[in-house]
């Protein structure tokens, strides 16, 4: 301890070992203290435009929710014929289906080993069942107040946005939960539409925009980034246009949201990186880098 006279400090060099009795007090602080400290070794350098490009995933999802709500509003007001929506949806689904295989030259299909017949079967099963159950969907929430339905839909759509898989590796991400919340919201909203045909078409549309569209987007983004940017812009503007036809204020606010997500947030992220102080040292838990599953499978 410090009350002991410190001897031989000049001749004996302090060693970072515990098994030797060293002529230093126990609270001695050597020059080598914290010499193995490393800062920010895993910190990533971000490029502004690369982050802006990545933020388009969020933009797409925000626009999907916006388009969905706008379409529902038009249906609810009776301004949009359900069969027209069904026809357009079916046509764009077909185009998307062809594009999906066309973009990567059928590589993804070969990898998954899924046949077209299987795709057709699941599509038919889904459409038949939704059509069959649409009268039930229609009357499912009759006893629930409309305000409750709206509130629930808002929470579910927010949840969908929060848990959606934007490509981040975080515990909160759950694409299943996200999709389920979106479908739940669509069922809630569909039950407020005038007829069961409306409800059926609304749920089908929800599947198309929340389940199928993100899959196509992912592939577009990976294979043809340029066209992906174009599609995102087009989608964003059409969503804005749709919103503008309902509410001007809403459209302005939504446009501000999109601009801040895609341009301000990346800027802020890069600025905040300057304040990053991630500490690493010998006390960190070691990571097992090898793949150990080969010993077990």
């Amino acid at each position: 301890m410090c009350d002991q006279p410190v001897r031989n400090t000049n001749e004996v060099r302090w060693q970072k070992v515990l098994y030797k009795r060293q002529p230093f007090p126990d609270n001695y602080v050597d020059q080598r203290f914290l010499e193995e400290l490393r800062k920010n070794i895993y910190a990533r350098k971000y490029q502004y435009w690369a982050v802006v490009f990545e933020s388009s995933v969020v933009i797409q999802q925000l626009c999907s929710v916006c388009v969905f709500v706008v379409i529902w509003w038009y249906m609810d007001e009776g301004l949009l014929a359900p069969l027209w929506l069904f026809g357009t949806g079916l046509a764009s689904s077909l185009i998307g289906y062809i594009l999906f295989d066309f973009i990567d030259g059928g590589k993804g299909r070969k990898k998954s080993g899924r046949t077209r017949w299987a795709d057709l079967k699941s599509a038919l099963v889904f459409i038949t069942f939704t059509y069959g159950f649409s009268p039930v969907l229609k009357t499912l929430t009759e006893s629930v107040s409309t305000d409750t339905i709206y509130a629930m839909s808002v929470f579910m759509l927010l949840g969908h946005l929060i848990f959606f898989d934007y490509g981040a590796n975080a515990a909160i991400v759950s694409s299943t939960l996200s999709l389920n919340m979106a479908i739940f919201a669509s069922v809630c909203l569909a039950s407020r539409l005038p007829r069961s045909l409306h409800a059926f078409i609304m749920v089908t549309f929800a599947i198309q925009i929340f389940a199928l569209w993100p899959m196509l987007q992912k592939k577009l983004k990976a294979c043809t980034p340029r066209s992906y940017v174009g599609v995102t812009l087009l989608f964003a503007f059409s969503a804005l246009g749709g919103l503008l036809s309902i509410s001007g204020v809403g459209a302005v606010l939504f446009a501000l949201l999109l601009v801040s997500v895609s341009f301000l947030c990346p800027f802020y992220l890069i600025r905040l990186q300057l304040f990053k102080e991630n500490i690493h040292g010998p006390w960190d838990e070691a990571e097992i880098k090898e793949d150990l599953s080969r010993f077990l499978s």
Binding site: P25, D26, G281, W283, E285, A286, F295
Partner: protein, 486 residues
């Protein structure tokens, strides 16, 4: 409250110590301290912290200090118990929340702890383990009551994830006005200084110890024509059980005369069993399950090589125990492990299957060529490294230093909290500290210190216990010495 109902004086002969107020009591001679060890982790729980507290207390009693231990009730074990040499243990009736740690509200334990601190005339509070809520509570109350505080940190923590950010903040608050901190290795000191933003001058490094007489070599237990690798650890991710699953098949295929003995229990046991099943190694890999502390030595002496695959470790007693039994140690180079044994006794590897296999192969080659020193020789070297008496001696110096320091006054303490722990957290905890002081004043008004009975000392200079037979080497076997329960 357990301590109020205690009928201690009727069981133990009373003499001059039966005084009713602190003023009338004979004061302890200078140089001897009244220490109160506080931790959630104590016997009947078993582990590094538990045996550290027990052994350190025994050696401090041997050196003439008064030591009591406070922990929470374990099942039926509550009230006051006496262990070897009059080591008094208070098992307080506090609710256990998670992993044997008590819940904390920061206030509810004050009445009980204050009562004990007063009746035992405690001058130093020594809290153990940053996982123990009770230890932090005791530090908080101790500072409120103007007592000296010491804290021993037994574990390493990262900085990256949310949970460690939060716990590190709490540690900063808890340690910012603690007098002295003890860490078990230099790596642990660096870690604690960074986590709690401390001045490194008030952090001492005092390693853990191993009782060398418990861990003696016995080469006759080894199989002559076989090479045996021993692993003793809990089978959990942090101890690197996944690495072990890669090492076993790799080496067993290569060396037909190789055996593994694995002691310990845990959630990862299942994958070891899968590996054993898949490679048909039932006769060569023995899984012993959970071991009692007294059986560890008998397992260790059956092996030639000890393997430690931990991914993080502040000190690692296991490798010292193994080396003391004369085994060649192969270990991962993580945490404080490189500081523990000299290079001649340990082969350090990176935490990967490949590197550990290379290390083990090197050890096997040395063993077969007879290059390794004999177990007795290794034991002779290791037994001088770490002893509990040395630990106690160094801890005593910390106490000597701390007792001479001034305890922060209320305004200084609030100042320190607000300037040291960030504006938001600092202010919140300063407010809580004020509440704690008011609560203490209220308690003092309800039962003044002078009305609290002074306990009969069972250890220390005024002990009424039969003189200790100076055997800190007694096994941690408190059953044999329990004589009172309330």
């Amino acid at each position: 409250m357990a301590c109020r109902t205690e009928a201690e004086p009727s069981r133990r002969p009373l003499d001059a110590l039966a005084c009713t107020s602190t003023e009338e009591c004979p004061t302890a001679p200078t140089g001897s301290h009244s220490v109160c060890m506080v931790s959630d982790f104590f016997y009947p729980n078993m582990g590094g912290v538990e045996s550290h507290i027990y052994q350190l207390s025994q050696c401090l009693i041997e050196r003439g200090h008064k030591v009591i231990i406070i922990t929470h009730a374990y099942g039926n074990r509550k009230g006051v118990r006496y262990l070897t040499n009059g080591l008094k243990v208070y098992y307080l009736p506090l609710k256990v929340m998670y992993n044997q740690s008590t819940a904390t509200t920061l206030f509810h334990s004050l009445p009980l702890l204050r009562y004990i601190f007063v009746r035992e005339r405690i001058s130093i509070i020594h809290a153990h383990s940053s996982f123990s809520a009770m230890a932090h509570d005791a530090l908080f109350h101790g500072k409120t009551m103007g007592l000296q505080t010491v804290f021993t940190d037994h574990s390493l923590f990262g900085f990256a994830d949310v949970s460690s950010v939060l716990t590190n903040k709490l540690l900063t608050v808890s340690l910012c006005d603690t007098n002295h901190i003890i860490c078990v290795s230099y790596t642990s000191k660096e870690n604690t200084v960074l986590r709690a933003a401390l001045n490194p001058e008030i952090v001492s490094v005092i390693p853990n110890a191993v009782d060398p007489t418990d861990f003696t070599p016995d080469p006759r237990q080894r199989k002559k024509d076989m090479v045996t690798i021993v692993v003793i650890s809990r089978l959990v991710y942090r101890k690197g059980t996944d690495l072990l699953c890669g090492i076993i098949p790799e080496l067993c295929l290569k060396y037909p005369d190789l055996n593994f003995i694995i002691g310990g229990e845990g959630p990862k046991r299942i994958i070891l069993e899968e590996v054993r099943e898949r490679y048909q190694l039932h006769d060569r890999v023995r899984l012993l399950g959970a071991l009692e502390h007294k059986d560890v030595r008998n397992v260790l002496v059956q092996g030639h090589i000890f393997l430690n695959t931990s991914l993080t470790e502040a000190f690692c007693m296991a490798i010292v125990e193994a080396a003391s039994c004369g085994l060649q140690v192969v270990s991962t180079r993580v945490g404080g492990i490189p500081e523990v044994l000299p290079e001649s006794l340990i082969i350090l590897c990176e935490p990967s299957v490949k590197s550990l296999c290379q290390g083990l192969e090197k050890a096997i080659a040395q063993l077969k060529s007879g290059e390794l020193p004999t177990p007795e020789k290794i034991h002779g070297v290791v037994k001088t490294f770490y002893t509990w008496r040395n630990v106690a001696e160094r801890t005593e110096k910390v106490y000597d230093r701390v007792i001479g320091e001034a305890v922060l006054s209320i305004d200084q303490r609030l100042d320190r909290l607000m300037s040291h722990c960030g504006s938001v957290t600092g202010c919140i905890f300063a407010l809580l500290a004020v509440f704690n002081i008011l609560f203490l004043i209220f308690l003092r008004w309800i039962t003044p210190d002078s009305l609290i009975d002074v306990a009969v000392d069972a250890s220390g200079p005024l002990s009424s216990w039969p003189l200790p037979q100076c055997s800190p080497r007694d096994k941690m076997n408190p059953h044999s010495n329990e004589d009172s329960e309330t």
